[in-house]
Symmetry: C2
Subunit: 437 residues, 2 copies
């Protein structure tokens, strides 16, 4: 009688890593977590499942189609597709228990049933920070996002990157000024794709939606404003556009640029980019995108912006905020493809103890000693030939092996082999941790 | 025009914590993670969603009813209900890439649509370790589970606990010896409830399934064998039961007890308990349950055991293993109810900088300095009265406040207030980190 075997497989679009990659992934995630915490963001963990009615309060169009939603019993459920909607629910629900500005981070999996392409996932980690104000939130907080991201990406050892910033009010003010406010949403959507599709295609799309030729010219020359951050700010001033929104946006952007400098972010790491609009109806002020300088094809690895009201669907409290999100799974996958992942050890383990005698007590004593010194230690317990034991040590890639045989037991010592250099040395049990460190 | 407000709410049975509790929860999770890693377990992260066919290969009965399963497009999906089935799939799928014995840990959310009761969750964290052998796995690994759990729970500051151990072969051998092998499954299920329902109820249930009176007597006196670990082992030997399974189980249990001692687990922390059976068809040797000595009503907070074959549904490779799982969400919730949670700081933040001048550059310089010294630092950026700033500091519970006004900017200094003692001291920017540490 042969039992039926079910082919083991993992859903496509769902990342599942081998141990060595998982160690690298966790290393990056720990840097993000530490980076976020170092700026005073507090951890949050919301459910993966929410009531559909709650989660989809705002959703619509493309997003809604991608959502994993289902009914269990008589309850309509949906899996979260981002970490912002759950945050909005959380803040509205716990409003009276929270201290504002409320700075939280959340690193967790989100779900979107997109057609999986290379580097696109249906289950993926987002690593978000948001700062939520009660009724108001100072513009200076907008400069904290690039500061956190700069410090965090630097520690991750990413190749050179640029944090692009813009301000939605400048864009909307500019279009009001051109008297094409009725087309703002469409125009922003088209401009937002400028980096992807190129200016000729942008022009064509603007024509398609009926933008007058003079406006197209103005729009294109506007998004083409280039130079240093100060030069761009000057160019914007020199446009002498008399529009309240535009003026407000420009003053915000100037304040943010100056505060980003104050936060210690070097000039080459952040840049005003007037073609960035981010989404359609959510962001209302500063917007961010982050690209790898030498790998523009990767697209934005970290995006976000300022919004006027986080939780308007759940509460009448006005909760303005600013946030940014790292798409960690996608970033990991892209870095891996390009050979840009940081080199992390093959194993977290530092010492593998090989007991060569039936009496394992000294091996365990050493293991406990080392663990008390924060040295990750494993005792190999299969009874097999020495060769097989060393083979295991080699395969897992442990840096030190501690051999404890009859002689070592007699002398309360261990023979330590450095697996990288091949050096070998017998020392007292009490001295092993010093040797390893 | 008033917009419709959707009542923000979180699904019942889904844990969502306020910031202070989340900090404590993460503190416990970090101890578990570090504990697991210190013994050489490698991290793993499998998807929350799997193909139903794969995830439910083995499931049935009660488990299957509780599963969150649904169809998206033409794919039948299910949310994982434990971390063991995904491990089995993973090991079968990646068999040729893994090194055996394969020691992995996974801490993640699992989903069971139970009727939520107090302290029972539908979404909850499990924190698992397993050691998987290729064809064979030495019995000594069975002693590593109690050693890891002992060290981990100790570091978590749990109240006194007992790791109960038993061996399924002793049980099955004993019932074979009594000639009631045909009822083993039922009898084990009944015995397993002994601690919950009491011996009279056990007796009644044994009668109900038609166990002969003499057998009931033998079974009850068997499960009542008490004493020190050595006394119980002696009592078992003295039963002089001639049965291969019983003998093998007894020799395994003796070896495990002795190895647990070798691993440095004090005698009062682990105890042979012959009434523990754990599940029905999965475990084949050593089994574990862990209870809090002074809070037996909490039930088992950490359970597991030895199994002959992890992934028989996915591969013909024989993969014996041993594993144990901490039900973290439930443990957290029970500890909280009983006021037994470790005292963690109200915030992770160490220093809150209050800029009192428009010029914030020195504040940011100090913040960067402190963060480089691994001191978590936030700069408060709302422009408001000093009183409101201090109010924020008090509410979030930060231990130190650094005030930087006009004078401080002139002297490149900061006035540091210890929020616990009220002490205040003005020091040079360069000396702040020493004062804080």
């Amino acid at each position: 009688m042969t039992k039926k075997i079910i082919q083991p497989r993992t859903l496509s679009g769902f990342m599942e890593l081998l141990p060595q990659d998982q160690i690298t992934f966790n290393y990056l995630m720990d840097i993000i977590r530490n980076g976020y915490e170092s700026f005073g963001f507090t951890p949050l963990d919301t459910p993966v499942l929410e009531l559909s009615e709650v989660l989809l309060a705002k959703a619509g169009g493309e997003t809604e189609k991608q959502i994993y939603a289902f009914t269990k019993g008589d309850t309509d459920l949906a899996m979260r597709f981002d970490l912002t909607v759950p945050l909005a629910k959380y803040v509205a629900l716990n409003y009276s228990s929270l201290t504002f500005p409320f700075k939280r981070y959340q690193i967790g999996k989100v779900y979107r049933g997109e057609r999986p392409q290379h580097g696109r996932f249906r289950e993926f980690y987002q690593a978000d920070i948001d700062i939520i104000g009660n009724e108001k939130l100072d513009i200076l907080y907008d400069a904290e996002m690039p500061a956190v991201i700069y410090q965090t990406f630097l520690k991750m050892g990413l190749p050179s990157f640029t944090i692009h910033i813009n301000n939605r009010k400048i864009l909307s003010g500019f279009f009001e000024h051109l008297n094409c406010s009725d087309k703002i949403t469409d125009i922003l959507r088209i401009i937002d794709k400028a980096d992807k599709i190129g200016l000729p295609a942008v022009k064509e799309e603007l024509q398609k939606i009926g933008t007058p030729e003079t406006n197209i010219k103005d729009i294109l020359s506007f998004t083409k404003i280039k130079g240093t951050n100060d030069e761009i700010l000057d160019s914007l001033k020199n446009l002498k556009i008399e529009n309240e929104n535009f003026a407000l946006g420009l003053s915000e952007l100037s304040a943010v640029v100056s505060a980003i400098r104050n936060q210690g972010v070097p000039e080459e790491y952040f840049h005003i980019n007037l073609s960035i609009a981010r989404g359609l109806d959510y962001y209302t002020g500063t917007v961010y995108e982050t690209t790898l300088k030498d790998y523009p094809e990767v697209g934005s690895i970290c995006s976000g912006g300022r919004y006027d009201n986080l939780a308007g669907f759940y509460t009448r409290q006005k909760l303005p905020g600013v946030g940014i999100s790292i798409g960690l799974s996608r970033l990991f996958s892209q870095l891996k493809d390009k050979g840009l992942l940081p080199k992390t050890p093959k194993t977290l383990l530092k010492v593998l103890i090989l007991p060569m005698d039936k009496d394992t007590s000294l091996s365990f004593e050493l293991a406990t000693n080392l663990r008390n010194q924060y040295i990750k230690t494993e005792v190999f317990l299969e009874q097999t030939k020495f060769k097989n034991k060393m083979n295991y040590a080699n395969k897992i890639g442990v840096p030190f092996v501690a051999i404890i045989g009859e002689d070592e037991i007699k002398n309360r010592s261990a023979t330590i082999k450095n697996m990288l250099t091949g050096e070998q040395q017998t020392v007292s049990i009490e001295d092993v941790h010093t040797l390893i460190k």
